[in-house]
């Protein structure tokens, strides 16, 4: 037991002398918290439209004006032909083309209907879909309000359904509320998983582990000696993260702070176990990093950080539930944004505890001093 004290003292000394780790501890959270939420904005706005107007009539002008004033679209260039507009799309200057055929206004009155051509850069299928949908809505709205239609429209036989809409917890639907809690999780994941694995394997590579093996230091003392310092660092970084979130974004946990910290504690233990596990399967720092990176990428993508879990197919959702990151991202968002309480999140705690047991148990079983 006493040996643990000495080990911890040594580990802390070594870590605090390592400038890289210090930079990671302080610089990284700040940078990530500032950059990621600002960058992660998935809204579809500023859609660039290239209008090819073959008609130049009052109606076509009105339509174009309406599109311009909708706020979603920006006009690029004034292409005289479809081919020119296509070139604009090729150069990524335009996202969609609206082609108004010649004789548009005249034919609309004469024949009762007219087609409008919308061509969308569909490489980003969802952006295209949304852009086209917006445009469609603007056009439909324009359609309904054309003088002729307003004059001749038959009143509806039965009523109209109005919709009021409220957005809870995030009235202006700003992305940063969604992203900031997730970034906090990312920070803990990087420290708990990456750095721990790297640190332990480094000792393996240099050979200092042999020296430890010869001493009376027990297996569990060594492991704890490696995990505890990073656990402490993780909690410090988490706190720094919360402070930065508040100072820069004004986001503070609506729910119980202690509850949040409880989850952070358990989550860190899970990730530390994972880092330990990785270290038992790596022989070099390069390997450890790459393995950790591999899993980190999978975890981040599957955790609901960038995309919604609900949208995933069934098998993917199951995979997602099997990673601790998913659960903590969920809980983090729940406690910080919605103020969820103990009753609502206690099940997630159980999951996180299970992960902790599995990862750490497996890692310790793997790690042998003597063979």
């Amino acid at each position: 037991m006493r040996a643990l004290g000495f080990i911890l003292r040594k580990e802390f000394r070594q870590i605090l002398r390592d400038k890289t780790i210090l930079a990671m501890m302080f610089v990284m959270p700040t940078i990530q918290l500032i950059i990621l939420p600002l960058a992660m904005n998935f809204e579809v706005k500023n859609v660039n439209v290239a209008v090819v107007d073959h008609d130049h009539s009052t109606y076509s002008q009105k339509l174009v004006n309406k599109i311009g004033s909708s706020g979603y679209f920006k006009f690029t260039g004034a292409p005289a032909s479809y081919a020119e507009a296509l070139a604009l799309i090729g150069r990524e200057k335009a996202d969609l083309i609206l082609e108004i055929p010649s004789g548009f206004e005249r034919n609309l009155v004469r024949e009762g209907s007219q087609p409008l051509g919308i061509s969308v850069d569909a490489i980003n299928a969802s952006k295209a879909g949304i852009g086209a949908a917006y445009l469609g809505q603007v056009i439909a709205d324009f359609n309904a309000r054309i003088d002729m239609n307003v004059k001749n429209a038959a009143p509806p036989a039965s009523g109209v359904i109005d919709i009021t809409f409220t957005n809870w917890f995030n009235p202006r639907a700003e992305y940063k509320y969604n992203v900031v809690p997730a970034v906090l999780v990312l920070l803990l994941t990087l420290i708990g998983g990456f750095m721990t694995a790297l640190n332990i394997v480094r000792e393996k590579e240099i050979g200092t582990i042999e020296q430890i093996n010869v001493t009376p230091i027990k297996k569990w003392e060594f492991i704890l000696g490696k995990l505890i310092p990073f656990w402490v660092i993780g909690m410090v970084v988490f706190t720094i993260g919360l402070c930065v979130s508040y100072l820069v974004y004004g986001i503070y946990p609506r729910g119980n702070l202690l509850l949040l910290y409880l989850f952070a504690v358990v989550y860190l233990i899970d990730l530390l176990g994972f880092g330990l596990l990785i270290s038992t399967y790596s022989n070099s720092q390069v390997q450890a990093m790459f393995i950790a990176f591999f899993f980190m990428v999978i975890f981040m993508l599957m955790s609901g950080f960038f995309t919604s879990i609900d949208s995933m197919p069934h098998w993917a959702r199951i995979m997602s539930e099997l990673t601790p990151v998913t659960h903590f991202v969920r809980v983090d968002r729940m406690i910080i944004l919605k103020g969820s309480g103990w009753n609502e999140v206690k099940q997630e705690l159980v999951y996180l505890l299970c992960f902790g047991v599995v990862f750490n148990g497996w890692a310790i079983w793997n790690y042998r001093k003597t063979n």
Binding site: P115, A125, A157, N170, Q285, L301, G341
Partner: protein, 368 residues
């Protein structure tokens, strides 16, 4: 020349001995392609909705059936109590709610107007907008059902064409992004580590005393990773074509040429990093964790660049992956030729020359 080959062969031995890293190197793109192609989607589906139906009449029931039948929604609960909604949100059980007032049907037919309320869980902003759109559309449809004659006599019909992607394949956007990401990170990291490891172990000095010019040492280190990355790149293309049904619309040789250029850019970056660091740990942390963020964000494949604050857009210009992403999109997905991408190619080439030059100059002066 023959000596150089010997050297290169030694480097290849090093690389192939580390089977785990090789596995990850080729496994990463596979995993990403599978995930992006099949699991991840920016579409919003399977939205868990709660309906608080205070009216329980034939109209609300019909609307609820529509919701049940829709692939976009999963009806979690039908409740009576408004307060249940907040708890459900906090539990994470549902992400939106639709509330019908009592007398829904009566008001609709009698007064001609009735109001429903939609509440969304704003912790996921994506949901909010999409839910309103979907529900509005559904309610609009129901309205139409009730009023079959309320149609505008003069109709503008919007005909939409999907360019480059008639099938609406959602994976298209990700493939160039994955390419840029993987090549940039893997290449940079492995090259930088390879050089730093020799420095750390002290074998670098042995190499430098040999009759080799220092330049050749670096080249020999970089070549295996150049070839491996090309192999990786080929793997990604094959996966995209055969697993994701994303075809290469443009010229394959051009694509390869551009990719080779990009790989060299990344190698140069790796060499530059190895000059600046003296331990493997630092090199790895810098190139993997440090590069990950810029690669993910500043290429613009996950989040549109136009949405980001101006300073970010400026910064993205110095990230090589961003230019490469544009080139791959243009050549592979749009089938465009060199005339469309010469500007981007020039930028990449310029960056490569700069990085390589810096790396070599630094290498010579840092022979401690």
């Amino acid at each position: 020349m023959k000596q150089l080959l010997v050297f290169i062969r030694k480097e290849f031995y090093h690389v192939f001995r580390d089977k785990r890293t090789l596995l990850i190197m080729f496994g990463l793109p596979v995993v990403q392609i599978v995930l992006f192609g099949f699991a991840l989607s920016s579409e919003v589906k399977n939205i868990r909705i709660i309906v608080a139906d205070h009216a329980r009449d034939v109209h609300t029931q019909q609307i609820v059936s529509k919701i049940k039948a829709s692939p976009y929604f999963i009806l979690e609960e039908q409740v009576w109590d408004y307060n249940r909604i907040e708890t459900a949100f906090k539990e994470g059980k549902a992400t939106c709610a639709l509330i019908f007032p009592p007398q829904f049907g009566d008001d609709l037919l009698g007064q001609g107007r009735v109001q429903v309320q939609i509440i969304t869980d704003g912790s996921d902003p994506n949901i909010a907008k999409t839910v309103v759109n979907y529900l509005t559309a559904m309610l609009g449809e129901y309205q139409q059902q009730l009023n079959p004659t309320a149609r505008v006599p003069y109709r503008i019909v919007a005909e939409t064409r999907m360019l480059y992607n008639e099938e609406g394949n959602g994976s298209l956007n990700f493939v160039p992004g994955v390419m840029a990401l993987i090549l940039m990170i893997v290449c940079t990291a492995l090259t930088s580590v390879s050089v730093v490891k020799e420095k750390e172990m002290g074998t670098m000095e042995v190499l430098l005393v040999s009759p080799f010019k220092p330049v050749l040492v670096l080249i020999a280190k970089a070549i295996p990773y150049l070839l491996l990355s090309l192999a990786n790149f080929t793997l990604i293309i094959l996966l995209s074509v055969y697993v994701l049904d994303v075809e290469v619309k443009g010229s394959v040789p051009l694509l390869f040429a551009e990719s080779t250029l990009f790989i060299i850019t990344c190698l140069s970056l790796g060499l530059l990093i190895s000059n600046a660091t003296s331990s493997q740990q630092t090199a790895l942390l810098l190139s993997l964790m440090g590069m990950m963020l810029p690669a993910l964000i500043f290429t613009g494949f996950l989040m549109p660049l136009e949405n980001m604050p101006l300073p970010f857009q400026v910064i993205s210009n110095i990230v090589p992956a961003r230019w490469y992403y544009l080139i791959v999109k243009a050549v592979m997905l749009k089938g465009l030729g060199f005339s469309y991408v010469w500007k981007e190619t020039l930028v990449l080439a310029g960056m490569t020359v700069l990085l390589l030059g810096l790396a070599l100059k630094n290498f010579k002066t840092r022979l401690q």
